[in-house]
Symmetry: C2
Subunit: 430 residues, 2 copies
């Protein structure tokens, strides 16, 4: 049981760390009421001591080198809010655990890469490693899977896991504007990293969350296999418009499921029905859908990112520790978590949305449809529109379900075809 007076360190004072610090300071009484413990922030650290921050920091407890905190102070709970997958983030978490300090982090990059090792370490040193904030901040999804739905046999978890991408796709539809213009808007609003938004846009952020969700939902170790990962960088307004005419929306989905005992993880943009639940989750919201037995389908929706939602999750982790809930980080002992058997994604099947820009001359459509038929992909719908001026035409095809390897072969053939003038667009239907 953790002692009555709890010393806390916060490392990393960017937007999230700074907001968290303010929450810790203002919620002390509430925390004591709910847990009987009295917290004290005894050390903080960040790259830049004097940066302008929303909430003032107490510079008298500031350490330039975060590792000095562990040497010089008696800490009970440490927040790692730097966010690197390796380097100083990993070093701090590792060292803290070995010093029998409970660790709380929103760092999905770290957990999805080193979660197995770090949870083993935490179990060995009998401390908590909590990372609720690493997936969908405003939604307590990890706790829901570990506790609320414990003993359910889950078979699928999917949803909208990246608020930045969801904002961009929603806003492109609303404003009829291009990807790049909307990205700039998102950066101005603070929804996307001003410097390097790549990890959000290329699907990596959602992918890291999928890995964490898989291991919790299916009691597996974190998968090391390369996963089908596509971002939204290539989604054009034109595709959103055509999808809308066909009664679809385009969403970036993260999906993990067990198919015949094998783990299939993927992140890609998908056409979802306009009137589906997931089709109506807009803006920076995140949504996670969990399918299991006996619970059926559970849906959770909330703000996905931003300092306030993330802090809410970090605080819930703190309360869990203060209440004395020592738990396995992944819900069961590390040595009982099995390596997942990867599903061969080539055997998965999806209906496809294909958009091709082709030369507007006789015989081209027949050439294209022949290619589909050669690859055993059957067509559900074709829309051909000429652009008179450029002697080009656009062909949009919705296919029946096609095996992934056949789709990939088709795309290769289409790329080689002389009458196809631009890289073909392929978006899977969900």
């Amino acid at each position: 049981m953790i002692k009555k007076n709890v010393n806390i360190a916060v490392i990393g004072l960017g937007q999230v760390g700074n907001y968290l610090l303010n929450e810790l300071n203002t919620k002390k009484k509430d925390i004591e009421l709910k847990t009987g413990k009295s917290i004290k922030i005894v050390a903080i650290s960040a790259k830049n001591k004097n940066k302008k921050r929303k909430f003032k920091i107490n510079k008298s407890i500031f350490f330039n080198n975060p590792l000095d905190i562990l040497k010089n102070k008696s800490i009970d709970v440490l927040f790692e809010v730097i966010g690197q997958s390796d380097g100083i983030s990993k070093k701090i978490v590792e060292t803290a655990i070995k010093n029998k300090i409970h660790v709380i982090t929103p760092n999905k990059a770290l957990i999805s890469k080193h979660g197995d090792y770090l949870s083993r370490l935490a179990e060995m040193y009998k401390v908590n490693l909590e990372f609720e904030a690493s997936v969908a901040g405003g939604i307590p999804i990890l706790r829901t899977i570990k506790e609320g739905l414990a003993t359910n046999k889950l078979n699928k978890v999917y949803g909208i896991l990246n608020g930045t991408c969801n904002y961009i796709l929603s806003e492109m539809e609303k404003s009829k504007d291009s990807f790049l213009n909307v990205l700039k808007k998102a950066q101005n609003l603070g929804y996307a990293e001003p410097g390097n938004p790549k990890l959000d846009l290329n699907g990596y952020d959602a992918f890291a969350k999928v890995r964490i969700l898989s291991s919790l939902a299916f009691n597996n170790k974190i998968s090391k296999k390369k996963c089908l990962m596509e971002g939204i960088e290539n989604v054009e307004y034109k595709d959103i418009e055509i999808a809308s005419q066909l009664n679809f929306k385009i969403k970036l989905l993260g999906i993990t499921e067990i198919i015949n005992g094998k783990l299939f993880e993927r992140v890609h943009p998908a056409l979802v029905k306009k009137d589906s639940y997931i089709g109506n989750v807009n803006g920076v919201m995140n949504a996670v859908i969990v399918e299991g037995v006996p619970v059926g389908e559970s849906v959770l929706q909330g703000e996905g990112a931003g300092p306030s939602a993330t802090s809410s999750a970090l605080m819930s982790d703190l309360l869990s520790i203060l209440r004395g809930n020592i738990k396995f980080p992944f819900g069961l002992p590390s040595n009982k978590r099995k390596n997942p058997i990867p599903y061969n994604e080539k055997n998965s099947s999806n209906s496809l949305y294909l958009r091709l820009e082709v030369k507007d001359k006789p015989g081209v459509l027949s050439e294209i449809t022949t290619l589909l038929s050669k690859n055993k992909i059957s067509i559900q719908r074709v829309i051909q529109t000429p652009y008179n001026k450029k002697k080009l035409a656009s062909i949009v095809i919705i296919t029946h379900k096609a095996l992934e390897f056949r789709s990939q072969n088709l795309i290769s053939s289409l790329k080689k075809n002389k009458n196809v003038v631009k890289k073909p667009v392929l978006i899977r239907l969900f």
Copy 2:
């Protein structure tokens, strides 16, 4: 810390108790893996030993009188699945707690009535009293409020809390059928009690859940004040149809919120926009929306009732106990929970949907609108339709926001008016 081998008793073997028994039997290994504890069902009890049940029961551990179990057996965790608000349910839970037995129950009637007393008792005897299954089975909403959103300042919790009513309203719209016919259908499908569905239909079931949600969300004692409670018994297909033409759906909502430090709880049918989130929760689904700071808006949706969803919640409570999470039943010590200050509902305001059947003669509409104006209720929209044959007309009025006491005065005047031939229908807009 609970001991390695855990003895369990299940009292009440209706649909839920019987399903739970099967879950306990089939998930033993999984439970041991996740908690390190080995469970054994050592006693069961129900009214009828020989009733036909979906899953066979072990008659050698059956007790006719459940209280004999507590006298003769060493029990660590007891499930009370009978469901009365008083009587034997209360007696069993009380006695078990006093014998230092952890209690798990889905019994919302019991908890909403005696939750304060029983939680005080559980704290005194240092055992858990868990009731996740009492509100929205498939949604771990109580745990989410107590743990996942702990330290958030919540100001409003609302949603669709009764699956039976939601099924009936959805099905009336779909099948264009009457309330009574759809109720029969619901009973045949097992969604509504065959004998006495009154507690679902009159709003009492949702009301009990609202009380539990309030006390958890706002850290109050359970309110004793009479609450605005209306069921769906008087909703006619005609109203659903007119609402639909006006772009609304009718849903039974349970709402609790803090207004200027005062608690306002209510359950009533409401017109919600067709394209709103809540307007698209159909069938037996439940949905709960939590608004707070810093988390923003969190939405949870899942199956509301039925043995499988309820068992999922009961099992999550068991795991919480086996993991050694001894906690205050309402998230903080009983003596720190304050009595809520009730909000005077007469000061609340809503736009109204009014449907009146009136004599079809000159001057009636002007008489009605004068009544509204006398009560300072302004009109947003009027639709008058004559029924030629009967010399009657229907008047539908959507008002601007009106104070509750004015709406009630208006209804009284309308009831007295000689030209209004049927009890006026009033449904609030949300």
